[in-house]
Amino acid sequence: MSNVLVVVEIGDGKLRAHSLPGITAGAQLAAALGGELHLLVLGAAPQAAAEGIAAAGYGAKTVHVGAHAELEPFTAEAWADAIVAAARSLGVAAIGGTATSTLRDALPRAAAVLDAPLAPEVTAIKGPRVFGREVSAGRAIAEIALEGDVVCFTARASEFAPAQPGAAATVAALAGISAAKRGATVLSIEKTQSARPALTEAKVVVSGGRGMREGANFKVLEELTDLLGGALGASRAATDAGMVPADLQVGQTGKVVAPNLYFAVAISGAIQHLAGMKNSKVIVAINKNGEEPIFQIADYGLVAKWEDTLPRLVELVRARKG
């Protein structure tokens, strides 16, 4: 078989937007393999969500539904069981999806059970089982070929356009799925409350670093963020210090973003940070020290303290937007 199965995530009964780039990557891979695109929806009772997804199609032939009480809330243990079962019963050539914390957790586990290789965080589909991906904090681009009857991949959201609705897909139930949490329990999920777009989906990202000194000072960055309809980001130094929640971290070990416009305010530009934002279209750096590496990749640099410049920047942007 040469079909590709993309595992998608649902929330509030709908497809989560961050799954869309993974569908695009899956469609590209299906085209390279000469097979069909199939989607997999997992949950306790995901039938209605699957029907909604099938109505939009997204280029898929069929939306497969894996229903089992143990699949909610998400655990890697139960999801890997379901992914393995789906891969075996559908006989697909490839399984993947967007590189979110969900698939990063569950897919390698499933791949191990399937004895399948995995191409993680791919940035390009280069051929039937050939992928491009960044390594060494974005300082090298590797091309890897995977061997075997079934291969796995996760796709970096910033590098694939969101899949667009298309012709409706069919819906099929996956029979006889077993799934178990192996004794694990999810006690709570504390979501970072925000009315802003998700970091990886935003057109504008405004990030602050250690030089912001404390969380309260992020207020001026938030004002700029909201004027531009963007998302707030941060360096590791700022998240480690608790100035902002950890899920706002941009970088090698945080979110990888590529917005139209990225502001790095009081961020030095360590390679691990650059790995998460260097593919942004336009980069603005505001830093009091003109020698910092961030200026080597910034399109526009302003050597100044944020205290002296950010309030004025907010004012000017507001005037322009107003």
């Binding site: 890697a76 243990e77 914390s101 990063r104 957790d105 390698p108 586990r109 791949a111 191990a112 059970v113 004895d115 399948a116 290789p117 995995l118 993680p120 960044e134 390594v135 060494s136 974005g138 300082r139 090298a140 681009i141 590797a142 091309e143 070929a145 995977l146 061997e147 075997g148 949490k181 192996r182 004794g183 694990a184 329990t185 999810v186 006690l187 709570s188 999920i189 979501k191 998700a198 504008v204 998240t239 480690d240 929640p245 950890a246 899920d247 070990t253 416009l261 279209k281 336009v282 603005v284 200026f295 910034a298 399109d299 526009y300 640099g301 302003l302 100044a304 920047l313 000017l316 322009r320």
Partner: protein, 272 residues
């Protein structure tokens, strides 16, 4: 309680990669331990020790898949405080994640370990898959990307805060289990074992080996095993087709004022 900690040797990530013959050239590289694995050993030691003292609640065993002659990184972890080590003698640069996971899973079984602690990814190839694979192969529960961990000794379970897409998930896993650690696991209060007093002054990074630790490391036991000793036949289904440097981004211009910045963003870059 026996904790197994993985460590990988990688080319020093501070040095920009060199390229030759369409691959990364590591011939002149300085090899160091993966920083995330330093976080893993720090986590294991904080779980095992009582407030930095000598009493131990668990044995900490380091495992590395590497050429037996190139194990300085293992010695470093022994110097930090691990009890002993196991080296699986193989050229890890020729193995894929599944092979490495099979070897580590075999060591885990052989040792009858209760917990595997690994860094969430290696800084060189950034795969982020070995610990999840080990958990799958051993059919054990897993808690990945841990930002904090509490060892509930009476229930023989871990309570782990995991950094997920849009927040923090708290997951409880019974032992035996697999744990992969993220950056914030090394903050001063991230690891609790119920024995170290609250407020014990841990630093916000992995410990440095003491002089005594460095001396002691030389006397600690290191078992060297071959993959065949573990009944694992290794290989790679992931084949490199070449590695290149990314296109270089041109440095832009320095603007003199906020006014000029806004003007340029609006009229030149057209992003406002």
């Amino acid at each position: 309680m026996k904790i197994l900690v993985t460590v990988k040797r990688i080319p020093d990530p501070v040095e920009p990669p060199k390229f030759a013959g369409g691959q990364i050239d590591t011939s002149s590289a300085k090899w160091v331990q993966n920083e995330f694995d330093e976080y893993a050993i720090e986590t294991a030691l904080r779980l095992a020790e009582v407030g930095g003292g000598t009493e131990r609640l668990a044995e900490v065993v380091v495992v590395s898949v590497c050429p037996a002659t190139k194990r300085e990184h293992v010695t470093n972890f022994l110097a930090m405080g691990a009890n002993r080590a196991i080296v699986v003698d193989a050229d890890d640069t020729q193995l894929d994640a599944q092979s490495v996971a099979q070897l580590i899973a075999a060591v885990f079984r052989k040792e009858g370990a209760d917990l595997l602690v690994s860094g969430k990814l290696s800084q060189d190839n950034e795969s982020n898959e070995v610990s999840q694979r080990v958990a799958g192969l051993l059919d054990l529960p897993q808690a990945t990307f841990a930002a904090s961990v509490v060892w509930d000794r009476s229930a023989n379970a871990l309570q782990v805060a995991r950094e997920v897409e849009d927040g923090v998930e708290t997951k409880r896993v019974p032992l035996p289990a697999v744990l992969s650690v993220d950056l914030r696991i090394v903050l001063p209060t991230s690891v609790k074992n119920g024995a170290t007093p609250e407020g014990h002054p841990y630093p916000d990074k992995p410990r440095l080996a003491s002089l005594r630790g460095i001396t002691m490391a030389k006397t600690k036991k290191v078992d060297v095993l071959k993959p065949a000793d573990l009944g694992v036949s290794v290989g790679a289904k992931v084949v490199s087709r070449g590695v290149v440097a990314p296109p270089k981004r041109q440095a832009g211009k320095i603007v003199a004022s906020v006014e000029e910045l806004v003007e340029k963003l609006a009229t030149e870059a057209k992003v406002l």
